[in-house]
Each structure stands twice: as structure tokens, then as C-alpha cells.
């Protein structure tokens, strides 16, 4: 048991280190930060001086090592673009992304399950077919297009919702929240739908197919024979058995909602870590890119580690 856990932890750390190495090897292909940092009137001398002080002349694995040594001491460096500590910037931006991810996750889960059940029970109804067809559109349209369409309809044409930003936020200690103001809540609507739409259709289709599968089972047939009401059969018996794979998928998808909020955040000028990352790429802000990638990989590796350890808890055969 202990050796299994230790092995998993060791493997996770190894994965993290490799992700970092690959990231640092890639940074040189993103471009050269020197030009964006120095402005139009730089001389060749300035270029050399800055490259030297930033350590950009060193091979990438040396740069990576320097990064690791400082990161272990809690120093993620200074952003080239903003000139402020990277840790501070990320801490400032993370609440926006996490709140957006939470709301879109909830949206995807609630609507996905409800619509999944509906389309499974009324599988040949007009409404169910319409939902299924529309969900295909939802899966196949790219996120930025959905976002811009929503802005066009609900902000420009109808003037119901804001087109960009987070509205007013309230600071609670180190956390900034949009949940406590009206403009903050209203601002969450369009980005959450944009970000959660794909996950919603995914969950809906999953629930539908699982539900159809379950409804064919013998125990449902016997339940009907016992004369139970439809509602009890559908929700007490069928739904419960449907939810196991849904929960697994949702857990995994939450990670990707956070990691891939980049496009939604860019379309809505949402001040989260995704927008920060896009700006960092354009500016070749290596400290921010490195910190963001490490953060995301820690998150993914962490989720996987927890899942692995849960398996141990659930499955006695692994404990041997």
C-alpha cells in the first residue's frame, strides 16, 4: 500500500519535471522577449546587455534549472511584461478563472443532466429531437464564435448583458469575487455559457446514452411490473445508476474547464489566468508562461494522483 502511494507520488513529480523541461525547450520558439521589452529606440548594445542579464544566452536546461532552484524557494520571478512578481499576479488573477470555471461547471452539470434525462425519457419527442440536433451545433461551433454570437445577440442587439469584463468585484482578503454584486453576477452569464456549452452537451449526451442503457435493464422492467410510477422509476432507480460515469467525467472535465478557459477569457476580456497566459505568449513573458504551465500541470497531475489514490481506497485488490 505505502509503496504504491510512494510510487504514484514519485511518478507525478517526474511528470511535472518533464512538463517543465518540455515547456522551457519550447519557449525559444515562441520568440524573443528582448524586442518587446526594449522598444523602438534600442541599440544593439542594449539587446546584448538585456539578453545577458536575463540569462537568455544560456541553454534552455540551464534556464530551467535556475527556474526550479528559485521556484523551490517560492520565488517565481518577475513578469517581463508587468514588472511585478509572478506569484502576486497569478494570485490576483486566479479567483476570476476559478469563479468562471465553477459557474460554467455548475451550468454544464445542471443543464446537462436535466436535458439528458429529458431526451432519454422522451426519446422520440419533437423537443428531444430538437435538443439533440441543437447540441450537435453546440459541440461543433468553435468557442470564440459562440462567444461572439452571444455578445452580438445579448449585448449589442438586445442590450441585456455586458459584453466584456467582470463587472464590479468585492475584495475578501486576497480573493476578489464577482458573486456579491449585481454587475458581477450579470457579467458571469455570457462567459459561463460560452465556456460550459461544450461540457454541457457532452454531459447531456452521456446521461442520455447511459439512461437509455439503464432503462433497458431487467430491474427497470421488474420495477414497471411492480406497478411503480414512472417518476419513481426514472429518478429513484434509473438516474442513480446513470450518475457514476457522469461524476467521473465531470471531475476530469473540471480540470480542462480551468485550463482551457483561455479562449473564453480572451473573447470576453475576462481578467483570469487564461488571458494572462495569452498576453504572456504574445509578449514572450517567460516567467509567467513557466509559472502558468507549471500551475496547470500541478493541477492535472494532482487530480490524477487523487483519483489513483481513491481507487486504492475503493478497490481492495490494489491494497495487497
Amino acid at each position: 500500500m505505502l509503496s504504491y502511494i510512494l510510487r504514484r507520488v514519485f511518478q507525478s513529480v517526474l511528470v511535472l519535471l518533464v512538463v517543465g523541461l518540455v515547456a522551457f525547450a519550447m519557449f525559444r520558439f515562441v520568440g524573443d522577449p528582448i524586442d518587446t521589452m526594449l522598444g523602438q529606440e534600442r541599440t544593439m548594445q542594449d539587446i546584448e546587455r538585456l539578453r545577458e542579464t536575463l540569462g537568455l544566452n544560456k541553454p534552455f536546461f540551464v534556464q530551467y534549472w535556475d527556474f526550479l532552484v528559485r521556484a523551490v524557494q517560492g520565488d517565481l520571478g518577475i513578469s517581463y511584461r508587468q514588472g511585478r512578481p509572478v506569484a502576486e499576479i497569478i494570485a490576483e488573477r486566479l479567483p476570476a478563472t476559478l469563479e468562471l470555471a465553477a459557474v460554467s461547471g455548475a451550468f454544464a452539470l445542471i443543464f446537462g443532466i436535466v436535458m439528458g434525462i429529458f431526451t432519454a425519457i422522451r426519446r422520440d419527442g419533437f423537443a428531444a429531437n430538437a435538443i439533440m440536433t441543437l447540441s450537435l451545433v453546440g459541440v461543433s461551433l468553435p468557442t470564440f464564435l459562440i462567444g461572439i454570437l452571444l455578445i452580438y445577440v445579448f449585448a449589442v442587439e438586445l442590450s441585456w448583458l455586458p459584453s466584456f469584463g467582470r463587472g464590479d468585484v468585492v475584495r475578501l482578503g486576497g480573493w476578489s469575487t464577482g458573486f456579491l454584486t449585481q454587475s458581477g453576477l450579470v457579467a458571469l452569464i455570457l462567459p459561463s455559457i460560452t465556456l460550459g456549452l461544450y461540457q454541457m452537451t457532452l454531459i447531456m449526451r452521456l446521461v442520455r446514452s447511459e439512461m437509455l442503457e439503464v432503462l433497458r435493464q431487467d430491474y427497470i422492467r421488474f420495477a414497471r411490473a411492480r406497478g411503480l410510477r414512472d417518476r419513481a422509476i426514472h429518478f429513484r432507480h434509473a438516474l442513480k445508476n446513470t450518475l457514476v460515469p457522469v461524476i467521473t467525467v465531470t471531475g476530469l472535465q473540471l480540470g480542462s474547464i480551468i485550463a482551457f478557459a483561455i479562449i473564453t477569457e480572451t473573447v470576453f476580456q475576462w481578467p483570469g489566468v487564461g488571458l494572462l497566459f495569452i498576453n504572456a505568449i504574445q509578449f514572450v513573458d517567460i516567467p509567467v508562461m513557466a509559472a502558468y504551465l507549471m500551475l496547470i500541470s500541478v493541477m492535472f497531475v494532482g487530480i490524477n494522483l487523487v483519483v489513483d489514490l481513491l481507487y486504492v481506497a475503493i478497490d481492495p485488490r490494489l491494497r495487497a
Binding site: 524573443d32 526594449l38 522598444g39 542579464t53 449589442v156 459584453s163 481578467p271
Partner: protein
């Protein structure tokens, strides 16, 4: 209990009253694609940063929105009668910083010296300065290492800080991210400008309020009492925010949305030619090009090939098709407001494929050759589309162009490192003088000059003339040298000018301004309609 309710009610009423007051005052909500990078006025010489700085800080001399130099913290300036190497400035009296400190010559000396330090991004503009000295509380002398007739032109973006404030807060040195520094001046401001920084969250929102002690009250319209700046990167979202009335002013209306914005009710698009010319550079200096089909020779070294390209580019087609009319075809890589520009120079050659083919034939490249064109795809208006158009045009004279379009962070290092054969570049001239163009684009690439000359071009005679511009006091003689230099440049054709960009600002009814050719908004000139 009653008491408390009453108190609460009163407090509530007070807040409501406050909010109403804030709304009725003139708040201008402003958006543009890019965010300022820092609040340290000497750290980043870059458009969006300088724009924000101009609202909070002030230079000695400022350019107004029409591009003319105007007194700001200096009321007058002239070359010294005794020493041609000295400029004498009279400073404005009775000016206070936002923190209450008085502005005097010690602050000016401190600020200029700070802008000349190694980590300042403005030091090149002051490279001719050998000493800055205060000769009285409101008298300043700047000594240059030779006569510099154009020194005032270089001061229009160099902001004045308070010496005491900077020293107290350990902000004497310019912010230097290279050293991993996080300086006080990068987060806090204390200027003399028309607006005071209220709050700032980078990439989210920056709020400025009117400076009630501003020296220019009564002199400038100062119509906005509060300015809220939000960067909105996505062009479609930025336009939507203007259309919905969530912002009042956007600095960059995308070309494809101009019609829609202009038609919308309550919004106007105002335009002006920008101080920025777009052109191609040709690597004429290399022995052999890296990415071409000609072995052992450089086709661009032959001036006839360069001339052929010059007349094979159909500038009017690019203007109409690619730019939708939003450009002014150019014949010289010098924007119109700049000293040295003439109409004759800016006349571009007639598009003539037959003549271009003849020139290619004459140069021995009748069968053509292939070459790689490096182009940015996120820097200038429709940059990649312009390059694509050029690919088709050059194919007509047998030059097969392989287009490599890259983001700016990858494109510009190619020019600095001399790793490109054929590239696109845009150039604005903040000093409004041709010397700036020659210094960076025509002078041989050396440690101090020619840093944007990616063509490998080197002409000692031209270099000597360029260097002489810096210290020529006789303005007529100097202008003659500039004219001669342009004449030489026209013959050499190392750059192929395409066009000058046009700026499009979107502004809501209720506000008005003229468009600044440098894209530098100065809100003190904004008027309410």
C-alpha cells in the same frame, strides 16, 4: 433601534447621492487593444504606456493633438546665445505634483538624468546630452556634446518626476525587470499632469480623476472629470463594447468594422493619417541569401532587381482591396508630418509589370528566382494580407515568394539579428525629423546606430552625412543634407515603401477631439459637445 435605522437610512441616502454625483460628472470610458506595461515613466518607450503616462505626468514640451510642439512644464526654450552646445529652458512656476510638492529645476534635472540611465528606455533620445544643470529655481540648461538643433523634439515624451518623492520611496533608479526588480515607481505615480491615478488593476481597469490643482485649468477644455481605461484585446468585443455604449471611446476600430461603427447611431468614426509608414526591406548586404533559389549570388544586391520590385508592387490595389481604402500609398519611408518629407519624394512609381520584367531580364534574372518574405501577423493593420498581395504581384515578374508570417515576438528578432532576406517593417517618427529614420534604418548597423537596419546596407558616405545631421546648427544646411540623403536613398531602393496607415478612432456622441497622428491620446484636449 429607530435611531440606528435612521442612521442607516441617512447613510444610504448619502451613498446614493454620491453615486448620482459621480454619474452626472463627465466620465469618459476608454478602451484600446493594448495595456500600458508599467507606471514608471522612463521604463517603457512604447505607445500604450506613453499614452497613459501623458495623462498623469508631463514632459517639458508636449506635442498637442495636431502634432505641434507646445509648452508644458517649460514655458520657453532657446539655444544659448553664448554657447551653441547649450539649450536654455524657462520652467513653469507654481506647478505642483499630485502629492503637493512643488515642481522646480531640481526635479527637471533629476528626471532628465534618470531618463539617461542605463535601464531607461528613453536614453537614446538623450544620447547627445552631456550635462543637465539647474541655473536657477526655474531655469534649466541642457548641455550637448555638440550643437543639437533638434534637442527639444526629443523631449516631448520625457516625463518629469518629483525628486523628493522618488528619493523617499527608493525610486531613483528606473524599474529594471532584468534585475528582477519591482520598483515603487512601477506601481505608484506622482506627476503634474491633468489626471491623477485613482486605482489600477493591470489588464482590468485603470481609473483616473481630474487634477483639481492642474496649472492648465482654463487653458484646456479638460472636459472629462474621470477616465476609466479598460484594455479589450478582442477586436469584435471592443467594437461591441462601443456599440452597446459600455465604452465611449476606442482607439482602434478594426478596418472590417468601420462601416458598421460609422452607421451606428450615437457613434462617430474619426480618422487621420498615422505617423507610420509600412514597407519591405531587402537584404542587399549579404553575399548570398539564406532562403533563395540563386546559388552563390544575392539577386537583391543588383539595384535593377530592387527597382523591378518597386514598380511591380501595385500600391493602389493594396489600398483598395487589402486596406479597404484605409491607407495612403507611399513613395518614401518617411511619413508626411516629418521634416524632410516632400510631395515629390512621396510620389510612387507607376505600377508597370512589363517594365519590371524588362529590368529583371536586364539584371539576368529573366527566369526569375524564389525568395522568402518574412512578415508579422499581429503588428500592423492587415500586415499578413499585404504580404499575401505582394506574393501575387511579385509572381508576375517571376519572383516566387514563399511567405512566412509570424507573430511579432518572432518576426522582429529576425530583423535585429540579420536573419531575414526580405521583410516587412513599419516605422513611426516620434521626433518628427528625418534624422531618426536615417539613424535607425539607413546607417550601417553598429553598436549605437542602425539597429533597425536589417538590410545589411552600408554606405560610408551616407553614414558620414547622417552623423553630421546631429550637430549641424544651420537649419537650412541641415535640411539640404536631409534632402541629399533622401535623394541617395531613392536611388538605392533598399526599402520598398507600401503605404502610410490611417488611424480610426471610434467616439460616442457627446465627446469630440482631433485624431493624433502618433496615436497618442491626450485627454486634456477632449471637448464635450
Amino acid at each position: 433601534m429607530m435611531m440606528r435605522a435612521a442612521a442607516l437610512g441617512a447613510a444610504f441616502l448619502a451613498t446614493t447621492a454620491l453615486t448620482t454625483a459621480a454619474v452626472s460628472a463627465e466620465t469618459l470610458r476608454w478602451a484600446r487593444a493594448a495595456e500600458a506595461l508599467t507606471l514608471d515613466p522612463h521604463a517603457q518607450n512604447e505607445g500604450p504606456t506613453t499614452t497613459l503616462m501623458h495623462q498623469i505626468y508631463e514632459p517639458l514640451i508636449v506635442r498637442n493633438m495636431e502634432g505641434q510642439m507646445e509648452p508644458a512644464l517649460a514655458t520657453s526654450w532657446e539655444p544659448s546665445a553664448e554657447d551653441p552646445n547649450v539649450w536654455v529652458f524657462t520652467l513653469r512656476e507654481g506647478v505642483t505634483f499630485h502629492g503637493g510638492q512643488e515642481f522646480d529645476s531640481a526635479d527637471a534635472v533629476f528626471s532628465l538624468e534618470r531618463a539617461m540611465t542605463e535601464t531607461s528606455n528613453f536614453k537614446e533620445l538623450l544620447s547627445s546630452v552631456s550635462e543637465v544643470r539647474a541655473v536657477g529655481p526655474y531655469a534649466l540648461e541642457i548641455v550637448t556634446d555638440g550643437p543639437n538643433p533638434l534637442l527639444p523634439n526629443n523631449l516631448t515624451n520625457i516625463m518629469m518626476m518629483d525628486e523628493g518623492w522618488a528619493t523617499e520611496n527608493g525610486a531613483e533608479a528606473v524599474q529594471d525587470y532584468a534585475a528582477g526588480e519591482d520598483t515603487f515607481s512601477a506601481r505608484n505615480t506622482n506627476g503634474t499632469g491633468p489626471y491623477v491615478l485613482e486605482s489600477r488593476e493591470a489588464d482590468v481597469r485603470t481609473v483616473l480623476s481630474a487634477n483639481e490643482d492642474y496649472w492648465g485649468i482654463g487653458e484646456f477644455p479638460l472636459a472629462a472629470s474621470e477616465i476609466i481605461f479598460t484594455p479589450i484585446q478582442n477586436p469584435a468585443t471592443r467594437v461591441a463594447a462601443l456599440l452597446t455604449g459600455e465604452v465611449d471611446f476606442i482607439q482602434d476600430v478594426p478596418v472590417q468594422d468601420l462601416g458598421r461603427v460609422a452607421e451606428a447611431e450615437g457613434i462617430e468614426v474619426i480618422t487621420a493619417p498615422q505617423n507610420r509608414v509600412i514597407f519591405f526591406g531587402l537584404n542587399v548586404g549579404a553575399e548570398d541569401l539564406a532562403n533563395d533559389s540563386v546559388e552563390g549570388a544575392n539577386p537583391f544586391a543588383d539595384v535593377r532587381v530592387r527597382q523591378a520590385i518597386e514598380i511591380a508592387i501595385n500600391r493602389e490595389a493594396i489600398q483598395q482591396v487589402v486596406m479597404r481604402g484605409q491607407s495612403e500609398p507611399a513613395g518614401v519611408i518617411n511619413p508626411p508630418p516629418v521634416n524632410g518629407w516632400t510631395e515629390a519624394l512621396d510620389e510612387y512609381p507607376t505600377y508597370d509589370v512589363a517594365a519590371a520584367q524588362a529590368l529583371m531580364e536586364e539584371a539576368g534574372y529573366g527566369d526569375g528566382f524564389s525568395v522568402q518574405l518574412d512578415c508579422p501577423n499581429d503588428r500592423y493593420v492587415n500586415d499578413e494580407a499585404i504580404c499575401q498581395a505582394a506574393v501575387g504581384m511579385l509572381a508576375q515578374i517571376g519572383i516566387e515568394v514563399n511567405l512566412s508570417a509570424l507573430p511579432r515576438a518572432q518576426h522582429f528578432p529576425l530583423i535585429a539579428n540579420g536573419e531575414t532576406d526580405f521583410y516587412m517593417l513599419g516605422w513611426g517618427v516620434p521626433t518628427y525629423d528625418s534624422e531618426y529614420v536615417f539613424n535607425f534604418l539607413y546607417h550601417t548597423q553598429t553598436e549605437g546606430r542602425g539597429s533597425w537596419n536589417g538590410t545589411g546596407y552600408s554606405n560610408p558616405e551616407m553614414d558620414a552625412m547622417i552623423v553630421s545631421l546631429a550637430s549641424e546648427v544651420d537649419l537650412d544646411a541641415r535640411n539640404q543634407t536631409i534632402a541629399d540623403l533622401w535623394a541617395m536613398a531613392e536611388e538605392e531602393v533598399i526599402y520598398i515603401p507600401i503605404h502610410n496607415q490611417i488611424l480610426n478612432w471610434g467616439i460616442a456622441d457627446g465627446w469630440d477631439t482631433v485624431v493624433d497622428a502618433d496615436d497618442q491620446v491626450k485627454f486634456k484636449y477632449f471637448v464635450a459637445e
